[in-house]
Amino acid sequence: MMGKLTWSAIPFDQPIPLVAGAIVMVVILAVLVWIVLKGYLPYLWREWITSVDHKRIGVMYCVLALVMLIRGFTDAIMMRSQQALAYKSQGYLPPDHFNQIFSAHGTLMIFFVAMPFVIGLMNFAMPLQLGIRDVAFPTLNSVSLWLTATGALLINISLVVGEFSKTGWLAYPPLSEITYSPGVGVDYYLWSLQISGIGTLLSGVNLTTTVLKLHAPGMTYLRMPIFCWTTLASNLLIVAAFPILTATYAMLLLDRYLGFHFFTNTGGGNMMMFMNLIWAWGHPEVYILVLPAFGIYSEVVSTFSRKPLFGYRSMVLATMAICVISFMVWLHHFFTMGAGGDVNAVFGIASTIIAVPTGVKIFNWLFTMYGGRVSFSVPMMWSVAFMITFVVGGVTGVLLAVPPADFIVHNSLFLVAHFHNVIIGGVLFGVFAGYIYWFPKAFGFRLDERWGRIAFWLWVVGFYVAWMPGYVLGLEGMTRRLQHYVVPEWRPWLILAEFGTLMILGGIVAQIVQIFVSIRDREALRDVTGDPWNGRSLEWSTASPPPPFNFGVLPNITGEEPYWGIKQRAIESGQLRPEPEYEAIELPRNSPTGFICAFFATFAGFALIWHIWWLVILACFGAFCTFVVFAWRDRTEYLVPVEEVARLDRANRAARAAWLAANATGSSPQAAE
């Protein structure tokens, strides 16, 4: 009846996961009780859970990412403490548990922190920048979000029911085959990533279609902000790479569930094929993450330097070049496989070539700052920190792209330091910049600047203290994923790294404090005009937070940086454009399809993990019925009446007119130079 699931699946003998799981459950329960008692539940259901508005969905993606960041960081600090302690001793984490922790850390940070964060920001900002009302398929967008949440939920369930994978974040066979990993850990890993992978793929299809097909009138491709270009490149990569991941995991699942021989070491299986397939997805994946971050830096650097982006077209070209070349370098993840000198040379050269368009981007940002009036707001500080940190990470990457050098440091902490250097310094700094940059657009008030700076310094310094020792340790021969060690020379560096991790903990605490302080002081931090940073692209032309339809009338685009042009003409003429003719606007109706579908997907995934076949069938049938009910709807859209459109847009115009009047007399309260 319950498949493999018995009471012994709950680790009563292991206090750490049990206590952690209990705390998480108490917190979730407390939040739920608070929501119900305060009567917020109908509001949450109506306005958020069933919402198909790209802005709401984007915000929910970011919330998911921030929550999972805390979970992934907990794993990180446990690993760093274990390695700081486990010199000639067992430390406090038994090997079995340590292996689960490093596997969960990588999986969570890539799939449930970095991915939802960039997808959330793309979802939020891209349609606003293109001057449109929503993405191409709004309900599908909600399905994507909730399937991603299902994946995250399944991984967290593994904390208390059963176990998680002990095979690293990519589950290399033959270790991940049923012979060597008979438990449910690898199944938790595979099914949660399969389900969230479908969500990501649907997002990719959705956002690609949006950028290619939906524009405000006159928004030609070469007038799109760079963030839209990087969104396009990133989503093209999702469409081209994620199906490979789905296929690869499907093969591993068939091996595990039905005794197939794809990657086994018997029956003619070929485990190196797994490495090739997984990295044919895996290398594009790092560009899926970092390209949107590059887009954010471009927006931020241009805005806070008060200049158009230097070399806009070369930036477009570099973005698309990275998009293509990223598919030609995957073998550098396993130079030591023994593919031969010629093959290694080809992939080594391709990997060094991809540094060229990235270098073009770095110079473009630097030249954008050159001669500009740079103001060091928190998003700009993250961007500058990125430029320095990412160059260090990039240079060590080029070093690893040279096969003979790679043979020396392969699978050492040098490699681990390299990819933390590019993913923290590239992706995470970028999403933090984007989070602070677009927060006032989403909520109508800015985040507290002082706590933002504290978080910034703790994070950046903490990162260097935590990860520069990694390079030293790698050169001293320390391999990755060691539960304990006996080499005395490593110990001081590992203790230093622990100290850096504690500083990052301080940074995260500062970020949490920042949220509370900002909400408390929201009236003082209010973004009245909708343009808190003197922005250049269209999202700053609408109110903060934007109305559900984004723009009262679709803007007519006549050049690059359309909002900057509109703003300058208004300043020159001393008045806003004449009031447009308002019309009623059709918007897609909210739908619980995504949430209900994910509800069934959660049960399907859990049942597949524990071999509860009747529940699998029931859940799949439920999901199918959900779609049929959705397809049977007669009213798919609702009409925002013209008076409502006019009221909201007039309020936005009034705020800007007030600013213009104040500015013309030279007494602007917001002339923050």
């Binding site: 690609t208 199906p243 490979i244 299986g269 008060r306 230097f310 685009i557 199918f624």
Partner: protein
């Protein structure tokens, strides 16, 4: 916001990398509004189909790598019955033709043509599926199931994945018939019929590749 009045682009007099159109008051394309819903839906579904084809290409790659890893078991030459495969191919291609008829019928709002086309498509799709399952059952019965060797694992996966798509397609087909029956030829339902026919034709494209790479080359090897 800026306190000072700034001229457009004034801070970067060279405007490097911005083309000639930066902030000029041209109205080219400005008249063009958003693309029609039918175009957007079709385009989006094409992108999805491309991603599906990428997934198949991974299975094809695995098959190519494992084609000779028979682990002492039977080879494709010993197992494949090309007559059966030829009949399957004919069924699928013919069902694609009738699917085309059905989508013309839908666009013309001609119920008889639509239901007739869909019914024939369903019948031939089901025959295809029956023949494929029959082939699979025969292979398993003679001890050539997917656990026998890596070659057979890859064979069952790539062909079975196509078969799974056909099964889901048949389920979708029935749903579309029911939808038109219940709601008539509404624009949103016509868009779904368009997506369904794209899906069904894409299955043909994949089958042609399967037929060539797996069966013909496998039987000839």
């Amino acid at each position: 916001m800026s306190g000072a009045v700034e001229r457009v682009g004034a801070a970067d007099p060279y405007r490097i990398g911005h083309g000639t159109g930066y902030q000029e008051h041209t109205v080219e394309h400005a008249e063009r509004g958003l693309a029609a819903k039918r175009i957007i839906v079709g385009f989006g579904f094409w992108i999805f189909l491309l991603s599906d084809i990428v997934m198949f290409s991974a299975f094809f790659a695995a098959f190519a790598v494992l084609a000779n890893r028979t682990a002492g078991g039977p080879t494709g030459r010993q197992l494949f019955d090309l007559t059966n495969v030829a009949i399957e191919t004919a069924c699928l291609l013919f069902s694609s033709f009738t699917c085309g008829i059905a989508s013309i019928g839908a666009r013309a709002h001609n119920p008889r043509m639509y239901y007739g086309g869909m019914a024939v498509t369903f019948v031939f799709g089901a025959i295809f599926l029956f023949l494929e399952m029959h082939e699979f059952a025969g292979l398993v019965a003679q001890g050539a199931g997917p656990e026998r060797s890596a070659f057979l694992s890859a064979f069952f996966t790539v062909v079975g994945c196509h078969g799974l798509h056909v099964s889901l397609g048949l389920l979708w087909l029935l749903t579309m018939v029911a939808q038109v029956f219940a709601k008539g030829f509404r624009p949103d339902i016509l868009r779904r019929v368009l997506c369904f026919s794209l899906f069904w034709h894409a299955l043909d494209i994949i089958w042609v590749a399967l037929f060539t790479i797996v069966y013909l080359m496998g039987a000839g090897a």
